[in-house]
Subunit: 106 residues, 2 copies
Amino acid sequence: MNTKKYCPLDHTMNLIGTKWKPIVLFHLLDGALRSGVLQKKVPGISNKMFTQTVRELEKDGLVERIVYPVVPPKVEYGLTERGKSLKTILLSLDSWGANDTSNKLV
Amino acid sequence: MNTKKYCPLDHTMNLIGTKWKPIVLFHLLDGALRSGVLQKKVPGISNKMFTQTVRELEKDGLVERIVYPVVPPKVEYGLTERGKSLKTILLSLDSWGANDTSNKLV
DNA sequence: TAACTATAGCACTTTTAGGTAAGTTATTGT
DNA sequence: ACAATAACTTACCTAAAAGTGCTATAGTTA
């Protein structure tokens, strides 16, 4: 028996409710990317926050980390099936922002 | 001429990319609510964060603050048209979390 | 042999988010 | 007279998030 009542958005916010996670996930929608390439696509993120963000996304099963045993290191990040299920939401978020009036007028 | 390139999700994240904003907005989807009622619907939020959150949402034109000049005070919050345009996204976020497997199995 | 590479970890500091408790308001009911 | 009320506001403090700079790795190329 579960005594905790359902709290709207609670689960979702715990998984992707941070500043960087949706942005990182968004850039993986078109396919896996090398670590450095992905990081460059996220303007303003620090090295530390990037690592921390993808680590959490990996822990939560939203992204997959593929390590190639070469030197210098090569690591790719891609969406898992669970991560891909966010596609609609991520595209909606982006297109909302792109179409929102204040984005154009200010 | 605008020299800044378009950064996906940047605008969206600036407006609603915090822990509390999506939750507050979600609870207003069915119509305006009195301040106290709305706050009770957001579990775990402190009085201070609630006030701060709705103030920012108001500043950004996503919610409307309606003050009734009575004593004791009566204040209602409702979505603006701009706020209502988030409806699809908010519902998607909620239903994603509700259907996400790990939410059931863990 | 020394520099370069891509990725990430670590220690340290700063910045921001957030919590707690108190005070403010003006009218109504006791 | 005074307590109760709803919605804040402020001051003060702690905890969490995030930035900065340094380190390690090991094979390839100059």
